[in-house]
Amino acid sequence: MGKGYLSYTMALMLQALENGYRYGFDVMTVTGLASGTVYPALRRLEDAGLVLSKWERPGVAQQEQRPARKYYEVTKAGREALAEARQRFRLLEQLAPQSTGRLKPAGEKG
């Protein structure tokens, strides 16, 4: 996957991460993708070296009284792949706006 073109889903997720949505929940909410798609895709991106994952420091999570999150971060290779994908998917940037803060859970599907 590292060498081939990114699929639209992958590119969208990468763009979301790049725009500051740094963990599974946010990515899901901003892209509207299902959890069963997002998590395997994150693992795939990580295997391909396009993103890196890091656990949040426990202190921060404790302060906010929630379980610690796993944050994902786009690597240099990821940014290159994304730049390439933006050439093909022109609307990509607009579909995942810059993160401004906390997101509301998206309209839940039944």
């Binding site: 599974g24 395997p40 929630r66 610690a68 796993k70 839940e108």
Partner: protein, 895 residues
Amino acid sequence: MRGRRGATHQRPWLRLITLVGVLVPCRLRADWRQEWEAELRYRETLLEEWDRLNGRTKLALLWHSLGALMDALWLQPRRWEDEMFQDLRYGVRMLLKNPGFTAVVVATLALGIGANAALFSVVNGVLLNPLPYPQPEQLITLHQSKPNFETGAIPYPNFQDWQKENQTFSAMAISRGSDFSLIGTGEAERVGGRWVSADFFSVLGVKPALGRSFAPGEDERGAGPVVLISADLWQRKFGVAPDVLGKSLTLDDKSYTIVGVLPASFNLVRGADVYLPIGQWNTPALRNRSAGLGLHGIGRLKPGVTLAQAQADLDRVMRNLAAAYPDANRGHGASLIPLKERMVGDVRLILWMLLGAVGFVLAVACVNVSNLLLARSTGRTREFAIRAALGAGQWRLLRQLLTESMLLALAGGGLGLLLAALGTRAALGVLPTALPRADEVGLDGRVLLFTFTISLLTGMLSGLAPALKTSPWRLSETLKEGGRGAGGGRHRAQGVLVAVEMALALVLLVGAGLMIRSLSALWQVDPGFRPDDVLTFGLSFPPSMRTASPEAVRVALRELSDQLNSMPGVRAASFSAGAAPLQGEDDLFFWLDGQPKPASTSEMNMALVYRVEPGYLTALGIPLKQGRFFTNQDDERTQPVVVIDEVLARKYFPHADPLGQRIHLGGDRDPLQIVGVVGHVKQWSLDSDDKALLQAQLYEPFRQLSGSPSGVGVMMRAEGVAGKAGAVPPALFDSIRRVVQSQHSQNVIFRPQTMNEVIADSLTRQRFSMILLDAFAAVALLLASVGLYGVISYLVGQRTHELGIRLALGAQRQDVLRLVLSRGMKMALSGVALGLVAALGLTRLLAKLLYGVSTTDPATFTVIALLLAAVALLACFVPAWRATKVDPLVALRHE
């Protein structure tokens, strides 16, 4: 918050995560759970904060948690990787814990796999790989078939007609081997060469590495003298100098301009260093339709043309030629053989047979390793029982065992490949002429793939028996019994494996035994001459000899012959032209005096012809049966005489005394009188001479021949020439050289061989297959006896307790000895019986390779069976003897 966390177990989505988490590989599980719990809890918290945690959103949460299932499933391959890695690591650790065991197994497998890889690389290089020319399947060798000879030479005028009139070949060339004296670059040297027609190289598709090939028309008489040289000669004589083109090379008495250098990879003709256009060959016989001159053709089929079509085409051409020139061509035909078939056809059967035999060696190695693993797995029963009790599934345990045997097999395979790479070169070096295309043998992709595949198969097969013996119900019994149970079935399996091993070894031994018998029968064949103390060499004369007067040539030759004959230690020496036993063939047509001259050569009689001096009979030790042999008085001034062999005498004078009869050799020569009959000499080979179509032999006195030879062979009986298989002593060769060069410094002697070497060379293929088969059989015997020894030792070890009780209860030492021996011999003898049956069926495949011994030779079968039984008895005796030394007290305490 706290309350919510405490209620984790009530939340179905979180419970689902816990459940699905079981699927995730252990290494990742904690991480994975935490990430998903964080996800779902955060989502839940947000929904709560917005006060929207209702039935619908709860369902949505559950839906999200189902995504975890997808995620977990996606991670499945990693579980495999993980466990495989664990198995591997564990396997390596277990193997390193028992370095002795591991070394024995790896060495056994390396031997088996290495022998197979080596032989397969030979089969691959010689039989499977295409010839190194473009579209090699289009290349066909061409011969003219004669009543006596399927693949005879093609007279040059006939060839030219084939070339012109055929419709199925895109091109056709002809060639003939010849030796030349290379003069002018250092000491005169004899080099191998070839007369070729101009398109010889273009038919093959070979382009010179340097310079050009022959141009069309350059092979006609009167064209400029040019030569192509081999890469080897280029290196040897010119140091790979690029300016070699245009230089001249003096071959015999003529100077040739070098126009090209052939690539180093060109190896169609062994030992040929110079290639000359055939038009430069100054012999009138080239225009004679009855003279074959050893010319053979090669052609390239037009695309899409089959061999049968080409055959029909040349048959048609040959019919026309027979009609046009009946005296030369009637009864002759065209014989077409694909080049590859011509090159490797003789060794195909031998190589496949050897590959089959070496497969047996691998099977023995495999069974041996299987047995060792089985014994070891018995020792590890407790380990497996504990692993099973801790939750390892049967499949997992099986995989562990298979992983270990695979590791062993791959290590064995790697080492085996190394052995093969070194061994193949060494083996081909010992008998370089045994195989065609020997220099094309090497390790390539196909050999690597073959080795890898047999390694995997070996690993799988040898690991299977022990793996299957380790089943869970046996394991639980083991735990209950404290480690001594589960033995019976395993012992039975070991017994069967040992018997199989013995049987395989026996088949190989019988095969090897038959080959040895066959070869010794061949050595015992009377060649018709006494080879001990006989040596032979080539002698070439300086170009000046060719321009000398016939009288001067005679004087020079006689002088040289006298000098050779009067050398100290030399009992007799003789020039020899024409045919030479087991070395070179030459024949002539004749008819009996008093009969009308036949209309065509195919209606004439044919005989092998030896043109020799009076010393020949003594030199070779051929018995005189009747009359006399030549004397020094049989020369150009006296009546022409011949001596015939007993085969010719029987065939053409069945009811009359051949002495005094006369025969005609054609041309304008007077009839020759038969003055003697000598014993028949094996000309073709020791084994096939009896079946050859052409056996009759005729001797002409060298001194009654006219003309000036460029070289002759010499046969010499001298003291101090080594007996069987020894080479010509260098001191003797040096003194011969001194004598020869004292007459003329440009006399060259070359290719010295003892007659025993000549015989040995004629048996190279049989020796090659015998040596390999013997080696395989020896390895199989060694492995099988080590296997038997191992199993019996192991059984004795296992039954120490029982033996102790027997001894304590009053059993005698010899009872114990008998008990153990009978146990071992039962396995061995059932193996021998099984092997005898298998060998009876399989040796039939050897039929074509054997000489003078039947494929079911009772003596061989009996001796081999006894040998194997004796070795088995020895292998059992050592552990059995040890068993009698068991101290009952120690044995009873041995728990």
